[in-house]
C-alpha cells in the first residue's frame, strides 16, 4: 500500500471519461464501501512475462495500479562488463527475446562506432533483412497475444504458425531458432545459405497473401474486438511525448517517429518505406499500426532481396578486440521502440560499461498512468498495446 497520497495523485491524473467510472473517495467512505487489493502476477498466465501488478479494485474498476518490475532481473549490464567484446553479443540476445536480432544489431553498431570500422555492404543489407524478419516475427505474435488477452484463442495459433516458419528461415541462416548470435562486430557470422533468397521471397509472398484471410478478416471487422479495444488505453500525443514513449505506443498517437527513418543506420538509408501512424492512440490503433508495420517490413524485405549486394560479410578485425578509450552509442528501432546501447571502453578487451536503453522499461510507465479508471479486463489489452517483454524491462 502506498497510501492515500498516492491514490489521490492517481485519481487526479485521470482523463475525463475514465474518471467518470470511479466512485469518489467521499462517497466510498460515506457508504462504507471498501476496495479490494489484488495481486496480479508475477505468475499470471496472461501476463507478458514476470510482471507483478498491485491493483486496488473498486468492484471491477481499477483504482490504482502499481507495476513491480525486477522478477526477471539477470544483471545483463554487469555481466557485459566482464566479457570480451564479441562475447557480449549472446547476452544481448536475451534482452528482448521476441525481437533479439535488433538487440544484437544495436550492440554491434555501438562497438563498431567505438572501433570505427567499415561494414561490408552485403553484411549491412543482410542485417537489415534479418532485422525486418525479426520484426515480423515479433509483431505478428503480438497481435495474436492481444487477441488472446481479449479471450480469442485462435489468432495466436495462426500467429505462431507464421513465427514458426520465420524461425525455420532463421534456423537455416543462423543455426539457431531463438538466440541467434548472428550479427558479429564488423559483419555477420555467415553468408546466407544457397537458395535462401528464393526461399525468403516465396515465404514473404505467401505471408502477404495470408495476412488478409488469417488475420485482418478474422480480427478487424469483429464487433466484439472493436468494442473491447476502441477508446481503451487512450494516450494523448502530449502525454506520449512527455513520457518518452517510443515505438508503437508513440506512433499510434500520431507522432511520426521511427529511428529507421529519422536516424537511419546501416542499410535503411537505401530503403523506401513509410512510418505508419494512427491518430486514435488506443488499443485498436496499436493493432492497426502493428499490422501496417508488418506490411512495411514485407515491402522492405522485398526491396533488399531485389538488389542484394555481392561480396564479403565479415571484415577482418583481428583476433582480440581492444578499442581505444572512448565510447560508442547506437540507437536502433526494435519492434517495441527505440533501443539504444552505450558502450564505454577503457582500452582493455572488456567493456568498461555497457548500458542498454530498452523501450519496454520506459513504455511500461504507461500502466500506472492509464490503467486506473479502466475495468479489470481492460488491463490485458493495455498490456497488448505496450507489448512489453519481461527480458527487456528487467535486463
Amino acid at each position: 500500500m502506498l497510501g492515500e497520497e498516492r491514490r489521490a495523485e492517481h485519481e487526479g491524473a485521470l482523463t475525463e471519461p475514465a474518471s467518470g467510472r470511479l466512485v469518489s473517495p467521499d462517497i466510498r467512505d460515506e457508504f462504507g464501501l471498501e476496495t479490494i487489493d489484488m495481486n496480479m502476477g508475477p505468475q499470471h498466465p496472461a501476463m507478458h512475462g514476470l510482471l507483478r501488478l498491485i491493483l486496488e479494485l473498486d468492484g471491477e474498476t481499477v483504482v490504482r495500479c502499481d507495476p513491480v518490475m525486477g522478477y526477471l532481473h539477470r544483471s545483463k549490464e554487469k555481466i557485459s562488463e566482464n566479457r570480451m567484446y564479441p562475447a557480449v553479443i549472446p547476452i544481448t540476445d536475451r534482452i528482448d527475446y521476441m525481437h533479439n536480432i535488433a538487440m544484437e544489431y544495436g550492440y554491434c553498431l555501438a562497438v563498431e562506432e567505438l572501433l570505427d570500422v567499415e561494414i561490408p555492404p552485403r553484411a549491412d543489407a543482410i542485417r537489415a533483412l534479418m532485422n525486418e524478419f525479426g520484426r515480423i516475427m515479433s509483431h505478428i505474435p503480438s497481435i495474436g497475444f492481444l487477441l488472446l488477452e481479449l479471450g480469442a484463442f485462435t489468432p495466436i495459433l495462426y500467429a505462431f504458425r507464421e513465427r514458426e516458419r520465420i524461425q525455420n528461415i532463421f534456423e537455416a541462416v543462423t543455426g539457431a531458432r531463438m538466440m541467434f548470435h548472428y550479427i558479429r562486430i564488423g559483419g555477420l557470422k555467415a553468408d546466407l545459405p544457397e537458395g535462401m533468397p528464393e526461399t525468403m521471397w516465396s515465404y514473404i509472398e505467401g505471408l502477404e497473401k495470408r495476412l488478409q484471410p488469417d488475420f485482418v478478416d478474422l480480427i478487424e471487422g469483429n464487433e466484439i474486438f472493436i468494442s473491447r479495444t476502441r477508446g481503451i488505453g487512450k494516450i494523448t500525443q502530449e502525454k506520449a511525448v512527455e513520457m518518452g514513449l517510443t515505438g508503437v505506443p508513440l506512433r499510434c498517437t500520431g507522432v511520426e517517429f521511427d529511428v529507421r527513418k529519422h536516424y537511419p543506420y546501416g542499410w535503411y538509408e537505401n530503403l523506401d518505406f513509410d512510418v505508419i501512424t494512427d491518430e486514435a492512440g488506443d488499443v485498436e490503433a496499436s493493432y492497426r499500426v502493428r499490422m501496417g508495420e508488418v506490411r512495411q517490413s514485407i515491402r522492405m524485405i522485398k526491396q533488399i532481396l531485389e538488389n542484394l549486394p555481392e561480396g564479403e560479410v565479415l571484415g577482418d578485425l583481428g583476433r582480440r578486440l581492444r578499442p581505444n578509450e572512448g565510447d560508442g552509442i547506437a540507437r536502433v528501432e526494435s519492434a517495441r521502440g527505440e533501443y539504444a546501447v552505450h558502450v564505454v571502453s577503457d582500452g582493455s578487451d572488456t567493456p568498461y560499461r555497457v548500458h542498454y536503453r530498452t523501450p519496454c522499461t520506459v513504455n511500461m510507465q504507461l500502466l500506472q498512468e492509464i490503467v486506473p479508471g479502466h475495468y479489470l479486463p481492460d488491463i490485458m489489452p493495455i498490456m497488448g498495446l505496450i507489448d512489453p517483454v519481461s527480458g527487456a524491462w528487467d535486463k
Binding site: A46, A152, T154
Partner: protein, 333 residues
Amino acid sequence: MQTVLNLLEVEPIRLLVSFGAVLFLVLNLAAVLTMAERKVSGYIHLRFGPNRVGPRGLLQPAADVFKLFTKENVSPGRSDLWVFLGAPIAMFIPAALVWLVVPFAPDAVVADLNVAILFFVAITSIGALGVVMAGYGSRSAFSLLGALRGAAQMISYEVPLILSLLGVVMLTGSLSLVDVVQAQGDTIWTWYFLPQLPMFVTFYIAGLAEVKRVPFDLPEGESEIVGGYMIEYSGMTWALIQAAEFASMAVISAVTVTLFVGGWQPPLPFLDLGPFNWVWFGIKTALIMFTFQWIRWSVPRLRMDQLMDLGWKVLVPVTLIWLFVTAGAMLVF
C-alpha cells in the same frame, strides 16, 4: 424378464431407472463433449487435436477421467471447506436434473410434467448458486470476482431467457415440453424458430450466457482472472465443475431444439423414422452444440458492462416487443 419389465410400470421404479439412464447419459456426454470440443478446436486451429490415445484419439476422455481420479483434491488452506466442496455438486445437480423433462422422443421422457418449462426455468436458476458457493468458498480475490461476475451474469440473462420462452408458451398454450414439440408439426417451416425468430436468437444468446460460454465466459475470464470461480479446484472437484458446464451446455442445446427447432420431429414428413425419431433430436442438438463450439473458438470475450448492456438494453426490449407482436398476431389470425 417379463417381471423385470412389469416392474418398470411401477411409477417410482420407472422414474428411478430412467433417471439413472439419463444420469449415465449426462456423465458420458460430458466426456464425449470434451473430446468433441478439443477436436473442433483442433480443426479450427489447423491442428490435429488429441490423436494419440486409442484409435484417432477416441479414448482420450477415458484417459482424462482416469488422470483426474488419481489426482489429489487440493483445497486452499483458509477455505470454507463445506461450501468449497459442495459447490461442484450444487453446480452439477441442476444441470443433470433438467434432463428429466427433456423429451428425446414421443415416449422417451423421464417425467412428462405439465409444467416442464417452469421446471426448466426454476432448475437452471439454481446453477448460479453453485458459482457463488465456489467463489465464496475458495477465499481468493480472483475467485470472488469470478463468482460475482457469474452471479450477475446468470441472473441478468435469466430475464431474457424466460421472456423469450413466453412466445412459444403463448403459441402452444401449454407448459409441457412434449406438447410444445407436438404442436410444431413435422415440417421444417412450421417449427417455431421461423415465426419466433427474434425469440430464437435471444434464447440462443441468453442460453450461451447462461452456460458461460465464449463470448460470455466472463466468470472464467482466463486471461484476466485466470479461471475465476474454479481457480482453486483440482482433481475430481474440478472435473465435476467441467462436467456440469458441459452438461448444462448440452441441456441448453436440447431445450433450444425442443422449443424452437421441432424436438424429435423430422424436418420433412417423409423423413419420419418412426421409433427412431430420437435420431433427429440427437442430430439437431449436436448441430446447436457445434455452433456453440464454433463461436467459442472464433470470437473474443465481452466485458462486464458490455454484457449487461447487451442483456438489458437489447435482448429484454427485443423479447418484450416480440411478445406484443406475437400476442397481436394471435388476436388477428
